[in-house]
Symmetry: C2
Subunit: 148 residues, 2 copies
DNA sequence: TATTGTTATACTCTATAACTATA
DNA sequence: TATAGTTATAGAGTATAACAATA
C-alpha cells in the first residue's frame, strides 16, 4: 500500500496523512511572521505569551518558551529597547522582574496576526463552500486534539 | 465581538480561529522531531527533501531550504560525517555535487516520522469517532489549501 | 542559605566575501 | 568569463558558569 493510499479509518493512518498537511500549512504561516520588523521568532513568541496570559516573570517566560533565563533576559532586553515591553520590579519581592506588553507592542503583535490571517483568508476564500464547512467543523476538533 | 465568538461563516473568521490551532499542533509535532539524534531541524529537513524528491545538487537544496550555499555545504557535511548522505561529482559537469540519501539516512528519517506519527496517533485515538471523521474529511481540504 | 535575574564566556549556526575548480 | 561549490571570517543567538541582589 502506498502512503497516499493510507487507510484513514485507523487513527494511525489518519495521523500519517494529517501530520504533513498540518506541518506544511504551519511552515508557510510561520515564514511570513518572521522578518516583519526587526523581531525574531522568539521575541514575537514571548510577546504573544504576554498578550495571551498577561504580565510574566522573566523566569516564567523562560520556562514557557523553553529557553534559559539568560536567553530570556536578552530577548526581553531587545524588546524593551524597541519599546514593545516594559519591566518593573515586583514590590512584594524585589528579586522578581515583571514584564508587561506596552500598547505599542500590542499593536505590533496584532498587526502581525492580521497579516497572517489575511494570507490564510485569501486561501480559504478560494475553497468550495463544502470545503470551508469541513474546515469549520475541524476547528473544535483540533482544539480538543491540542488539549488532550 | 470576542475573538472566541468569531463568525466562522466568513473566510476571515475561519482563518482567525483555524490558524492558532494549526500552529499549536505543528509546534508540538516539531518539538519532538528535534533533539532526536544529534540532528538539527535543517539537517532533518534537507534529508526529507532527498527522501521525497531524490538526489539533489547542493545549490538546489540551498534554494529549496532557503539557506545560502555555504550553509548547505555545512549542513550536508555534517550529514556526510554521520553516514546519512553520500556525495558524488556529476560525471557530466564536475562542478556539480550530487547528494544522495544513504540507506542509514533513510532509516533514521523513517524512524523519526514514525515517532511523530505515533504521538499524533495516540491523541487521535482518544477522540470521538465523529471527531475522527471530521479530521478524515479535513485532510484533502488542507491538501487543497496548501496547493492553492 | 536559597532564589531571581544578570554578566562573562564559549559554542552553534548562518551569511557575506573571497577563493578554487570546472566549463 | 561564468558557474558550482568551498573556505575564511564575522554576526546573531543560545547555553553554561560565575556573580549580584534580595529574601
Amino acid at each position: 500500500m502506498r502512503s497516499t493510499d493510507e487507510n484513514t479509518r485507523t487513527a494511525a493512518g489518519l495521523a500519517h496523512v494529517l501530520r504533513p498537511q498540518v506541518m506544511r500549512l504551519a511552515r508557510r504561516l510561520r515564514q511570513m511572521q518572521d522578518h516583519t520588523l526587526g523581531l525574531n521568532p522568539n521575541q514575537l513568541s514571548a510577546m504573544a505569551v504576554l498578550l495571551n496570559s498577561g504580565d510574566q516573570l522573566i523566569g516564567d517566560l523562560a520556562v514557557v518558551e523553553q529557553v534559559r533565563p539568560p536567553s530570556m533576559t536578552r530577548i526581553i532586553h531587545g524588546l524593551e529597547m524597541r519599546g514593545y515591553v516594559a519591566r518593573r520590579s515586583d514590590p512584594a519581592d524585589h528579586r522578581h522582574c515583571l514584564v508587561t506588553l506596552t500598547e505599542a507592542g500590542r499593536q505590533v503583535l496584532l498587526a502581525n496576526r492580521r497579516r497572517r490571517d489575511e494570507w490564510l483568508t485569501i486561501r480559504i476564500a478560494k475553497l468550495d463552500p463544502a470545503d470551508r464547512d469541513v474546515l469549520r467543523r475541524a476547528v473544535p476538533v483540533l482544539e480538543r486534539l491540542n488539549q488532550g
